[in-house]
């Protein structure tokens, strides 16, 4: 296989005696949607923080387009075309939606007018076109998630790291958000996403990594991964897969 867009090579992160992420390796292929799933506390967000430059790894190396980016600060990564969203949204609350997105657009555009124009285009792309003049603080959760996505997109990123952009949305909001995300790959954008909403992972991701207790449990296509007994046990506890199949209710 060709050199992946991102290659994580044996990365670990220790907080005191706790190994939040333990010797994890994974790769993100260009032009695809790769998902990272796993139960709460598995280390997904920590791993994300390391890939996006917010946390330096305790061990291991990270590569982007074949070049090492371990420990490179996030603002430099953004200039390389890597942008992330936050699980707990971080809007620039005092600014309007338009101004929020323009901050991202300023990365490659110095002039205010250019940045605002590009921001308006991105806003329409993610369905915020009607809300440009609202303050970010007045948006609903769904709106704020879209704003996170819009700002990251406006930087002109070619790799988006999406940390639970669907969490907290109701089913109808998820249904409208999924095509928005899928459409991005058509624009040549590669996506690595952390997601709990399995319905979305199944329909969006081409490749899934399952993280549990800081380690990669398994990887593969979404269908293969959800049928894996180890994955079910990681979520539901030891023996769960056996009990499910014994009860005849599981399709394991």
């Amino acid at each position: 296989m060709a050199e992946p867009l991102v290659r994580v090579d044996g990365v670990s992160k220790h907080f005191g005696g706790l190994a939040a992420v333990d010797n994890v390796s994974l790769s993100v292929q260009s032009g695809r949607i790769t998902a990272l799933i796993g139960p709460n506390g598995a280390g997904k967000t920590t791993l994300f923080a390391m890939i996006s430059g917010f946390l330096p790894p305790s061990a291991g190396r990270i590569f982007h387009r074949g070049e090492e980016i371990t420990g490179v600060p996030p603002y430099r990564l953004a200039r390389r075309g890597i942008a992330r969203t936050f699980q707990i949204v971080r809007p620039f609350a005092g600014l309007t939606v338009h101004e929020n997105i323009a901050i991202g657009a300023h990365l490659s555009r110095r002039a205010r007018a250019d940045a605002l124009e590009a921001a308006a285009q991105v806003a329409h792309l993610v369905g915020l076109g009607e809300l440009l003049d609202k303050t970010a603080a007045s948006l609903t959760v769904a709106g704020r998630k879209r704003l996170e996505l819009a700002r990251a997109l406006a930087t002109g990123a070619t790799l988006l790291l999406l940390d639970e952009v669907l969490a907290g949305l109701n089913p109808s909001e998820i249904v409208t958000m999924v095509p928005t995300i899928r459409a991005l790959t058509g624009r040549g954008i590669t996506i690595l996403m952390i997601e709990h909403v399995m319905q979305a992972v199944m329909s969006l991701a081409q490749h899934v990594y399952v993280l549990a207790e800081g380690r990669i449990l398994t990887e593969g296509s979404p269908q293969a991964v959800v049928g894996d007994a180890r994955v079910i046990e990681a979520y539901l506890g030891q023996g769960a897969a056996a009990r499910l199949s014994a009860a005849g209710g599981g399709h394991v």
Binding site: R79, A83, F86, F92, A93, E99, L107, K134
Partner: protein, 329 residues
């Protein structure tokens, strides 16, 4: 970012410039001159505190450096006053850059940043009170030389116009920052540093730039002070009084707005004068009044006088059925 147009800024400056034509009273002109000087220093604070969200408690460090460099270059090295004034501004900017680099590199934020700026200002005050080049405890006196080329004037009006011109420049600089990418990045850092980083902004660099500009503007206020009063000592230059005035005026007037520092300086200075009329010269009484004003503003008008004015205007347009304008959302 929305803000006043350049035309409105120039209109306000032009109106202020007519003041000496309405009054020949030295007391009034003195009041306006000192108020504009405070507004100038406050505008400096506003760049870093209002737009960048970094609350400095030590803008005396920049005011004092601007003042001392302007005075010392003239008195000890025979430099031209105008040249000394320009070097003073550069010196203040340098001090701002050095303190900023140390503070932001170490990742100091919030109250820690405030404490460190306060500590630097106090350090400079103590140094200035013992070293010979500053005149130590005696202070430095600039020789009387009432010629425009010495940055000294027979009457108050030229001083007033000069401080107004300096303040006008600061207004324009702040407005330009508001409309620039640098300004957008600065506000982004104020609103959320992590989100800013994720969007390609280097917060330390942006804050450092803001602090340097901020210090230069405050330094201009210090240099003007020396030319106006012809005397400086460590307590005036680096004392807490100017650090307090610098942050009080923008907070009262409207933090992170172009006209906030001017509105705030007018309110605060007018209150100070009134206190003097009512209570005489009781030491510290003006500070008590300032404290009360600050509490009232923070409690009831978090956006300062500028915020109150905006709200009042929106009410008026809402009440007027002939001009049905959409209120701001």
């Amino acid at each position: 970012m929305s803000g006043p147009s350049m035309a409105r800024i120039l209109l306000v400056v032009a109106l202020l410039a007519t003041a000496p034509m309405f009054t020949a009273s030295n007391a009034v002109l003195n009041f306006l001159t000192v108020t504009l000087m405070i507004a100038l220093v406050a505008q400096g604070w506003n760049v870093l505190g209002g737009y960048g969200g970094q609350y400095s408690f030590g803008h005396a460090a920049f005011f004092g450096t601007g003042a001392y460099v302007t005075a010392i270059l003239q008195v000890r090295y025979g430099a031209n006053a105008w040249a000394a004034f320009v070097v003073g501004i550069a010196g203040a900017a340098l001090v701002g850059a050095v303190i900023g680099a140390l503070a932001f590199r170490s990742g100091l934020k919030g109250s820690y940043f405030a404490l460190v700026t306060l500590a630097f200002a106090e350090l400079l005050r103590i140094l200035a009170s013992v070293t010979t080049i500053t005149g130590a405890g005696v202070g430095t006196l600039v020789a009387l030389d009432l010629r425009p080329q010495a940055f000294q004037f027979q009457s108050r009006a030229p001083f007033y116009w000069i401080v107004l011109a300096l303040f006008a420049v600061s207004l324009i600089v702040v407005r330009m920052i508001e409309q620039s990418r640098f300004g957008a990045w600065l506000v982004a850092v104020r609103e959320n540093e992590d989100a800013a980083k994720a969007l390609g902004i280097n917060p330390s660099q942006v804050k450092l730039g803001a602090m340097t500009i901020s210090a230069a503007i405050a330094g201009a206020g210090g240099g003007f002070y020396v030319q106006y009063f012809l005397f400086i000592d460590s307590g005036i230059a680096y004392g807490p009084w100017i650090s307090i005035e610098a942050l009080l005026a923008p907070i009262v007037g409207g933090i992170g707005t172009v006209f906030g520092p001017l509105l705030g300086a007018l309110v605060v200075k007018a209150l100070g004068e009134m206190t003097m009329l009512l209570g005489g010269d009781a030491p510290g009484l003006d500070l008590v009044i300032y404290g009360c004003v600050l509490i009232l503003i923070v409690a009831f008008a978090p956006n300062g006088v500028a915020g109150l004015l905006l709200k009042a205007r929106q009410r008026l347009t809402l009440l007027n059925p002939l001009r049905p304008e959409r209120p701001h959302g």
